[in-house]
């Protein structure tokens, strides 16, 4: 206890307990179905939040939330300012400290990291991290604009590039440097569609054959329609709790074992290499170090496959495949659930589950939470899953957040 003198009045102030090394657990997680969502923003967020609240084993009330971090690219400018407060206001969290987190497609990956840090700082015990995007109610022109605002406007955009174009440049260069080829990308597409087929929350629940995926409409040479994720509406919400309050809510928490984040140049031409992402490499190194696990320990990973080449490169950057062997990894089926080394995108990934920009990062965490809790319906459940990873990339690799979750603390 100490005393604070303000305006000639003396206030008693309790010492804030400073906890060192607070562990953070996920006690609940939920999302909407991704796709062309019939609901508006507030209702979508409320649905995701309600699913998260209801997933907590013991009773949970919205007004318990100390802080909220909500990722969004601002859904077509519909509510550009105070985006987050309007959502918490309509989901029972009125009055909590809230803010929007924006890092393009990695917005909610960073919201999750900020939420974790809020708890680790000792300032909050229960924190919500989430994300939301809704763009399918926009005109085609307006949608294309919002999809393009996160790239390098001054140089890349003036050279005619959108994200399909930047990832196409990466793909062609990877083919050239390492001998990978479009068939490798097709294998990734087929796998993710197969994984997402049974996912009730997925945007595109459709299996595709190798032949069909290989002959898709060319979007940005060499990437075809089947190499590109859809633009989805959706919201996702994850509830984090400090270790000293976890048991009030569940006896079976999923621990957030590690987190890492990094950034890089927005424009490809400023980067050291366009066939790897240094933001991912930095983020995952930090996450492995803070969690004490290695790539070989990961049972399942939700990887940012906005384009199939992004997954191929990520398998290398995350350490699942050797440098230049991401194509071989895909060809050998080493990312197929319950068959390969590590289940890559058991939800279907962005390719099949969908990509509601700001909601994607915490949506990945929802999948990992359910998988590690063992509550995913067969045949999607990964057998004996103990450790999962999420990998959320902003734009063409300017930002990246990686998180590692485990059943053990």
């Amino acid at each position: 206890m100490y005393f604070l003198l303000l305006d000639n009045r003396c206030y008693q102030v309790p010492n804030t307990p400073r906890r060192v090394m607070v562990d953070v657990a996920v006690i609940g997680a939920g999302q909407t179905k991704y796709g062309n969502h019939p609901l508006g923003l507030k209702a979508m967020w409320a649905e995701a939040a309600a699913n998260a609240f209801n997933s907590v084993d013991n009773n949970f009330e919205a007004n318990l939330v100390d802080e909220a971090f909500i990722g969004s690219v601002a859904f077509g400018g519909g509510q550009l300012g105070n985006t987050a407060a309007i959502l918490t206001e309509h989901s029972g969290m009125k009055g909590c400290s809230v803010r929007r987190v924006e890092n393009a497609c990695a917005s909610s990956g960073f919201a999750l990291r900020d939420a974790m840090m809020a708890i680790k700082s000792g300032e909050a015990d229960i924190v919500v991290a989430g994300g939301i995007e809704k763009m399918n109610d926009l005109s085609a022109e307006r949608k294309r604009y919002w999809l393009g605002v996160s790239g390098d406007t001054e140089w890349e955009r003036l050279a005619g590039l959108t994200f399909p174009g930047t990832y196409a440049l990466m793909a062609r260069r990877h083919f050239h440097e390492y001998g990978s080829n479009h068939d490798d990308l097709v294998n990734i597409s087929v796998k993710n569609h197969m994984h997402g087929f049974e996912n009730e929350f997925a945007h595109i629940r459709k299996e595709v054959s190798f032949e069909k995926a290989a002959s898709g409409f060319m979007v940005a040479d060499p990437l075809t329609l089947y190499d590109c994720c859809p633009t989805s509406d959706g919201a996702s919400c994850v509830i984090l709790a400090a270790d000293h309050v976890v048991r009030e809510f569940t006896d079976d928490p999923i621990w957030l074992k590690g987190s890492g984040a990094g950034s890089d140049h927005l424009a490809l031409h400023d980067r050291h290499s366009i066939t790897q992402m240094s933001a991912t490499q930095k983020a995952v190194a930090q996450a492995y170090k803070s969690s004490g696990v290695a790539a070989r320990d990961i049972d399942l990973a939700e990887v940012h496959d906005c384009f199939t080449i992004a997954e191929l490169m990520a398998t290398e950057d995350l350490g699942f495949a050797n440098r230049g062997e991401g194509g071989l990894f895909a060809r050998q089926g080493r990312g197929i659930r319950n068959e390969g080394d590590v289940a890559i995108n058991p939800s279907g990934g962005l390719k099949s589950k969908g990509h509601p920009l700001g909601a994607t990062g915490t949506g990945q965490a929802v999948e990992i939470f359910k998988q590690l809790k063992g509550t995913v319906e067969a045949p999607r459940q990964i057998r004996d899953a103990e450790i999962g990873l999420t990998h959320n990339v902003g734009g063409s690799g300017a930002t990246c957040a990686v998180h590692i979750f485990g059943r053990d603390r």
Partner: protein, 285 residues
Amino acid sequence: MMDEKTIVWKGYLACIGEDSCIVQSPWYLGEDCVFGADSDYTTLAIAAIQLLQSKGIQIDSINALNDVEALIINMATGVEVMQTTTDDSEELSAEWDLCISDDARLVVCKTDCDVELWEPEGGLDVDEEFHQKMTSAWEKECLPEHVSQGAYVSQQQYEEGAAARLKLMSQKVDGELIWPPRQMDEKGNPMPQASTPLQGIATIESWTKLAAAGAPSEFSIRAPLLGGITTAFVRFEQGPRGVFLLVDDEDNNPKIEDQVQFAIRRIYAQEGYIRYGLKCQIIRD
């Protein structure tokens, strides 16, 4: 005295004399010389001045009518453009004249110089329907009220980067060239002014052709006519890399390791202001 030999220069046809040069579009609609998909008098004028400059001819200022963008020519070539609304010689004070024709050709010459007519070789036929649609598309795009849903590069921001965009000006730091320019180094120190031009040769490291539906929305009027737009990722001989559209929005697919050179062309227009920039052109044997 003009050399009758046709030069292919910056994607145009040209001939040069001691104190003059003629530059024109390679495209023909019947007998008429017409602009290509991304050219106008400003891009022709820049090419003409650069051709003379490449021969060691110094041009400080030039007289021109209002058919060209004086600021863009100045930023691209360093030549001051003395503009007038009439061809009244009393208003004109520079030693050089920029004379435009009523088709897609122009002359840059000394004020007292007589320029001979010249028939170039290597003209190409353009499809009439394509030409008409492209002309209409640009007219629509250049209207002051045209504001695309595309990313917004303000006039101020555009002009701030113009030296790098139009002249490939780079920053020299410890012998290394940095392009496009950056603000601060890793120690937080301000970077030097961009004053060292990159040489205009680069090698393609990757490329893509975006379908019209996938092109940025600021290209949405013209991309369908072009069947998509092609972008090359290149490395300059001095090290820096960059991304550039292909000159004339060429239909040819590039190859990795192809060498390219650069020419200034129209990129897009918004709010009545045309953004010009360098595009790359594959160097064919």
